[in-house]
Amino acid sequence: MELYSERKYLIGALIIITSVVFLGKLFSLQIMDPSYKLSASSNVVRRVTEYPSRGLIYDRNMELLVSNKPSYDLMVTPVQLSEFDTIELCEILDISREYLENNLKRASEFSRFRSSVFLKQLSAESYAVLQEKLYKYPGFYVQPRTLRNYHKNIAAHVLGYVGEADRPFIRNNEGYAMGDYIGVTGIERTYENVLKGEKGFRNFLVNVHGQIMGSYQEGRYDTPAFVGSDIVTTIDASLQEYGEMLMENKRGSIVAIEPATGEILSLVSSPSYDPSLLVGRPRSSNYRKLAVDTLNPLFNRALMAHYPPGSIFKIINGLVALEENIVSASDQLYCPGSYTVGTLTIRCRFHKSPVNLPEAIQYSCNTYFSDLFRKILDHPKYGSVTNGYNVWRDHITSFGLGDKLNSDFPNELRGNVPESAYYDRFYGENRWRSLQVVSLGLGQAELTVTPLQMANMTAAIANRGYYYTPRIVKEIKNGTSLPGEFSTKNYTSIDSTWFEYVIDGMEAVVNGPEGGTGRLAEMQSVIICGKTGTVQNPHGENHSVFVAFAPKDDPQIAISVYVENAGYGATWAAPIASLMIEKYLTGNVTRKWLEDHILNADFITNED
């Protein structure tokens, strides 16, 4: 029974040894270590967050677009407050006594022991005066922050803005605390992890008067802050600026892409706003004003507007027909000035007749493309209209339409290329005919695309059959490589040989000797290939649309221009695209008359 009873001593010894180790450690921590000098309650450690400045944002030519400027928040720790001259403090800060009392009360309610913001973003003058007199106000201290500083009043929608992290965000994302700034939209949001940097913490020893006595424990527990990494965007600042200027007093969008890379050269959504409005103390009041503006300047049309593409869609319908061997490029069709089947009549403009495919593009012949679209759907080799429709839809979506492109923007929308099931629901399964959906052939009806998708589609045509996922960031300065999907070619389902026929048509749209629909876009030095669109809509004047790329044989730029309620595509969108191409390829614009024509146009105030 008493066999192992000597082991009780070992167990007792283990307990005593453990306690001696603890007491030794406690003795060194609490008594020996001279740096733990926080005797009694007089001194406290103040943990101060060091906020890193966000990464800088450059344009593609390393022109600085966004940097940071210093700002100062006045913090308060209620438990450390003692009596102070409230009148003087109110004067320095230019606040009322009520405001001061309310803020103090709010801070106490938040926490008596933790510091919280008393007054955000002090003015430079207040800060200068306050700094001298801060010793009179124990419990208060100044927290340096940085705010965004915009060097050019452009690209608000691309850059996005920075705001304070809200509670749900903090709950769902590690490493954020109240008062932290985060990117809310645009690049600021997509590249938040790159731009934000890393917060640091410093522990200071503070006496009863709130004066800093020095670093706590020689900084043993401090962690440094790391500034955010810089980002080089794909935006060409001067092109962007020019585009925004051209779109003044118009609603709509311009998106320009470099076809060889998918880099977005400019992305204009009009009307826009001055990005510096959403910085600092006036941010929330300005935001409220922008949010209630009937022209909706916060809405990024380039990514989120669902527009019917209109006649520009004829290009891809032509490609689908060629790929599926429905027609050959030289097959001709007679256009009597309208497409008439039974009671349905689709009007066409007067032009040369009969036309083959390139000519049909040149003249934007409604008759030809109505007929062509029905030929695709009704072709006997598919067995049914539904099957024919599905084949057609697969080709269309291979151009990046009908779904998100997965660019590096946070909130692009998908557009809409209806699935056959949609018409099954609408008309009943197998009870719809090609005639009922014929307006899809002209880019109308349920079809919608975003300006970004239009530009991307044009880039795919310029590349003769593939596109790179469009992106806004060219390089991250900390060496992080961009996701691989940005460097892989997305092939369309159309063979590259077919593109030459439609591109010839697009060339003739702009440069055709016998008159194309986009002659206003013609440039002397460069061959621009384009396609106009004039989209009917029930809410007023037609939308003016133009897509183009140039030069024909070595495309440097693919562009989509969409001007809401402006009229013919040829009159407004085409010259805007042409001016943008000229600006980008040559660096300046020589056709001043054309520029004035655009700048003087106002489609917003006219309306009212």
Binding site: S5, I11, I16, L23, L26, Y36, L38, V45, F113, G175
Partner: protein, 472 residues
């Protein structure tokens, strides 16, 4: 009989218990105190709730004292099965708190079955070993005891709650007292050491260490250098052959894999050598060798696949693999700042600044020792540690004077669990052991842990008070 019982209660233990509970409540009050809620009996605040838990704990204590010891003996298996059922059902019906399902929620009350599993496991261990005194090292008994402990451990790991399941390891201390072979405990320590080394070192170094270790153990056991040399030569030969094959056919084998292949290939010729020369000890050493290798590989697997990221991080921080002052290392830093800032006499009751609000996390539960250190200084921490040492030594004394094996083992189980919590909780606050998050007995906030510790302690005191009766 009643007066007899009162007389036989070990009042010293009861006094220390009451002191610790009171000290705990004072510190919970201090950490949670807020000017805007000034009543002590505010049941919305933790100090208010803790008063209710304490009251209930005292009622439990008195109730336990009124129950006969036999009751615990007879129903030990029933209690154990009940807690096992609770542990299973908490996995299905439990409330999820910070991604682990450990709690039953009944209205405003939360019950953590893992806390009570300690008590009931201690009871069945005591009951089982009571039937086989001195035969603890029989393989069959070892497996059964292991099973009794492993069952709740694995269920708690599924919650997952690594801290609470680790507590069950402490029963090995009680088993040691009952004669568990130091070899078993040594093997356990070796496994833990290998586990840590496996995380610290790369594969190749691990294999080399295990090889050298095996050779060393063999030398100590057999003292026959010649055969060790022969064995290593055989392995060396295979190593050369495999290395050459690798070079010729460019198989691209990694060095550690060549070592493993060589070790594996040399087993057969070596066994022949063993048969010829009738060598002893070779088989166990080979067993250790390959067992360790297998364990090393499974350690990495367990670490990557079983432990949760925050546990991995904590272990990494303690082992110095990862330096992360804002994450879990940050907790330890802040805890040390708070304790260190207390100085000799502390800042005084409710004057702590570091243990308020977000400076030290979990101040009223797992890190309550920080509040003691900050507000009561070295004087306070000294007294608390002294109280625990006194209590534990007193409980050893009480256990030793039991007349029945059942009571003695239960006593040692109580000592083991209390000691484990004490050592890990304070060690964690001082940055000496990983942050596993288990409460400081009697002091930390929380009903379940207070009740289960109280029950364990008073069941033991009840056994102690009745030990004379048992003799009659």
């Amino acid at each position: 009989m009643r007066t007899n019982l009162l007389k036989n209660i070990d009042w010293l233990t009861v006094i220390i218990y009451l002191l610790l509970v009171f000290a705990g409540w004072l510190n919970i009050y201090s950490t949670v105190y807020d000017e805007s809620h000034q009543t002590i009996l505010n049941t919305g605040e933790r100090y208010g709730k803790q008063i209710i838990w304490i009251g209930a704990a005292l009622i439990l204590a008195v109730t336990v004292m009124l129950i006969d010891t036999k009751f615990f003996y007879v129903f030990s298996y029933l209690f154990y099965s009940t807690t096992i059922l609770l542990l299973i059902s908490v996995l299905f019906f439990g409330t999820e708190v910070s991604s682990s399902k450990s709690w039953f929620q009944f209205g405003g009350i939360q019950i953590q079955p893992a806390e009570f599993a300690k008590l009931t496991t201690a009871l069945v261990l005591a009951r089982y070993l009571n039937s086989f005194p001195g035969r603890i090292n029989d393989t069959r008994n070892l497996f059964r005891i292991g099973g009794m402990i492993f069952l709740p451990v694995s269920l708690i790991l599924m919650q997952p709650d690594v801290g609470s399941s680790a507590v069950f390891l402490s029963f090995s201390l009680a088993l040691y007292r009952e004669g568990l072979s130091p070899v078993v405990i040594g093997a356990g320590i070796l496994l833990v050491a290998l586990f840590i080394l496996a995380l610290l070192l790369n594969e190749l170094n691990m294999i080399l260490i295990i090889l050298v270790l095996s050779a060393f153990i063999y030398l100590i056991l057999s003292r026959r250098f010649r055969y060790l040399f022969m064995g290593l030569s055989i392995m060396g030969g295979f190593w050369g052959i495999i290395k050459a094959t690798d070079a010729i056919f460019t198989l691209g084998l990694k060095t550690e894999h060549i070592f493993l292949l060589a070790a594996g290939a040399s087993v057969l010729p070596y066994m022949i050598l063993v048969l010829i020369h009738r060598l002893k000890f070779v088989v166990p050493v080979l067993f250790i060798l390959f067992g360790s290798l297998l364990f090393t590989y499974s350690a990495d697997y367990i670490f990557d696949n079983v432990l949760q990221p925050h546990h991995q991080k904590r272990i990494n921080v303690i082992l110095g693999i990862e330096n992360d002052p804002l994450g879990d290392g940050y907790n330890i830093n802040q805890s040390k700042i708070a304790i260190g800032s207390g100085g000799l006499w502390g800042k005084g009751f409710m004057q702590g600044t570091q243990t308020k609000f977000d400076f030290v996390p979990e101040q009223s539960t797992d890190f309550i020792f920080c509040t003691i250190g900050e507000e009561w200084g070295f004087a306070g921490t000294f007294i608390v540690i002294l109280a625990f040492v006194l209590l534990l030594l007193r409980l050893i004394f009480i256990s030793e004077r039991q007349r029945s094996v059942f009571c003695r083992i239960f006593g040692y189980c109580t000592v083991s669990v209390l000691f484990f919590h004490f050592a890990i909780n304070i060690g964690m606050a001082l940055g000496l052991v990983p942050v596993v998050g288990i409460p400081l007995p009697f002091i930390s906030y929380g009903g379940s842990s207070l009740w289960s510790f109280t029950l364990m302690l008073f069941v033991l005191l009840r056994m102690d008070a009745g030990r004379m009766a048992l003799m009659k």
